[in-house]
Amino acid sequence: MGRKILFVTTDQQRYDTLGCNGGALARTPVVDGLAAQGIRFERVHPQSVVCMPSRSTILTGQHPTTHGVWMNGVPLPLEAPSVADVLHRAGYRTALVGKAHFEPFLDPFLRFPENALSRTGTVPPGGLHRGFEHLELATHGGIGPLHYAQWLAAEHPGAVGGFYPVLDGSLQVNGAGGGDTGAPQVKANPIARGIYHTDWVADRTIAWLDSLGADEDWFCWMSFPDPHHPWDPPESEVGRIDWREVPLPAGYPEDRSEREAVIDGKPRHWRLWYDGTLVSNYEAPATWVPATLTPDQVREVNARNAVECELVDEALGRVLGRIGERGWTDEVDVVFTTDHGELQGDFGLLFKGPYHVDALMRLPLVWRPAPSASATPSVVTRPVGLVDLAPTFCTIAGIEPLPWMQGGSLPMDDADAEARGFERVLTEWDSDIFGTDVHLRTIMRDRWVCTAYLPGTSHDGTEGELYDLVDDPLQRHNRWDDPAMRPIRDDLVDDLWSSQPPSRRDRLVLESPV
């Protein structure tokens, strides 16, 4: 019997939403407790700041350039490598419960296995899908072909319409406002808490765990759709946090001229989006103009986001409780993270896009090794990436990481990180839709975040961003064109290009907006 793995992801959750990371809004005692017992990582970056590429990196252990999923809507090839497959072949029982999103959601032809699976059950045809023998899937609402929506429609049809409609009538990301402030993607959702997708994911995870024998090894990816927008948690829970008392985030300059001056110091697509003249990708409502965002809307979005984070924490607590009842606690590694961040008011923006700053790139990551491993609690400050998760799962399982994995098993502390060369982490962005393309390559190393731009419809390829995370933790001052920074910039850019992972030979095709 080896170590079992509970891998917990949320969707679009910022680093600073956890109490253990200094967050003061949401109460997250369960994850905070895991951090106190295990390893808390302070500088974790995704390899892409949108769902499908990032989740594909988690599963394959490869950068987007290599696995080929360069944007939402590009399906991960079925033959792509999978750490779940590696674990399954090593004898692990494997499940994915909640949000998968390796394949596009908008799929009226049900071409993609994730979307077709609920018609036949929870066991994929042939027994495995991407290494998982059991999949029960959900996303951000109550409509669609996935298991949660099908279950909700069958068992609680009156609750379906309570969710915010993620897409509008034009199938664009919905920009309609709601709540008390008219903030986009906010809605009062009358759904009972017990049937909201957060608790459903925990319930179905517990049900799967209960189906296993006491001595079986297992890898369970429990993937919560929250706190990704829409911000429509059960209305019964919204009163936990009065948005009127929520302080404005440090990253939100309340003074408009100050805010716009910060944005104007960055490459031009920042201001174009802020003014509503360019939405370069499908990740934000095309009809919403960020310049209209009010301080109260920022407060309400942050309050509702925090409620969703609390619900996730409590759901995780229930699952850990069941694991304890099964007598497994000492043998279970718990890894908690997310796929990417959320702007959540920083710079006067919401949602996500080609903006490689901490709001989207600095992620929560907590690893509580199985107590039987007797690991020493620690805090890792050196940079790591989601690309390091797949080899970590292998190491936990006692398997040598596979050659196609591009990261390294997560360090146990800073000394371990230094000894094993955890020095830099890379992030990339490529969007190309209906004649608008944006391409970014980013390196985080030492105290710097450096982004080089490639030519696109809004950039000539000479632009960039350079931030000193020590002197400018909010990334307000772009030093890219500062002559005094040129030697540092050149060194980082050289390192960035010489560290690029190998590219997939053929470019995968965008097959859906999301």
């Binding site: 032809f109 209906f434 907006p513």
Partner: protein, 137 residues
């Protein structure tokens, strides 16, 4: 994504003479045979209704079925579309092979990607359907 109307195009080269390929693609009633995700279809004059694997009936208006040009055009007329135009061309490459080009124009733009993505998958399936293992090189 600010565009309201989207236009995408996909293509595949097949190791078959164009007339042989047109025999399949130019027959509106055979679309469910080679288009993965379409389970069935009925044709009544210039009206076609396909039923997707999700059980969604999709009414279509056949605009062009031109065997000389080897061009088929159709509009999806389902309410979610403000506009749609699908165009399939089978082009003779004069070497015993042909090029199939599938254009999809739609408003809302998102639907151009959805329908176009499914069309791309259909083109990728065509070599298998036609009895060859891979696209012509």
């Amino acid at each position: 994504m600010t565009a309201t109307r989207g236009s995408v195009r996909h293509q595949v080269r097949l190791a078959h003479p164009p007339d042989e390929v047109w025999e399949v693609l130019g027959a509106p009633e055979r679309v469910h045979e080679w288009f993965p995700g379409i389970d069935s279809c009925t044709v009544d004059g210039d009206q076609r209704v396909v039923v997707t694997h999700a059980g969604l009936p999709m009414p279509e208006h056949l605009l062009t079925v031109d065997p000389t040009l080897r061009r088929l055009q159709y509009r999806i007329t389902a309410p979610m579309f403000v506009e749609h135009l699908g165009t399939i061309d089978v082009l003779d490459l004069d070497d015993g092979t042909c090029l199939v080009v599938y254009g999809t124009d739609a408003e809302p733009a998102a639907l151009a990607l959805v329908i176009g993505g499914a069309a791309r998958a259909a083109l990728a399936y065509l070599p298998t359907f036609m009895g060859t293992d891979a696209p012509a090189s």
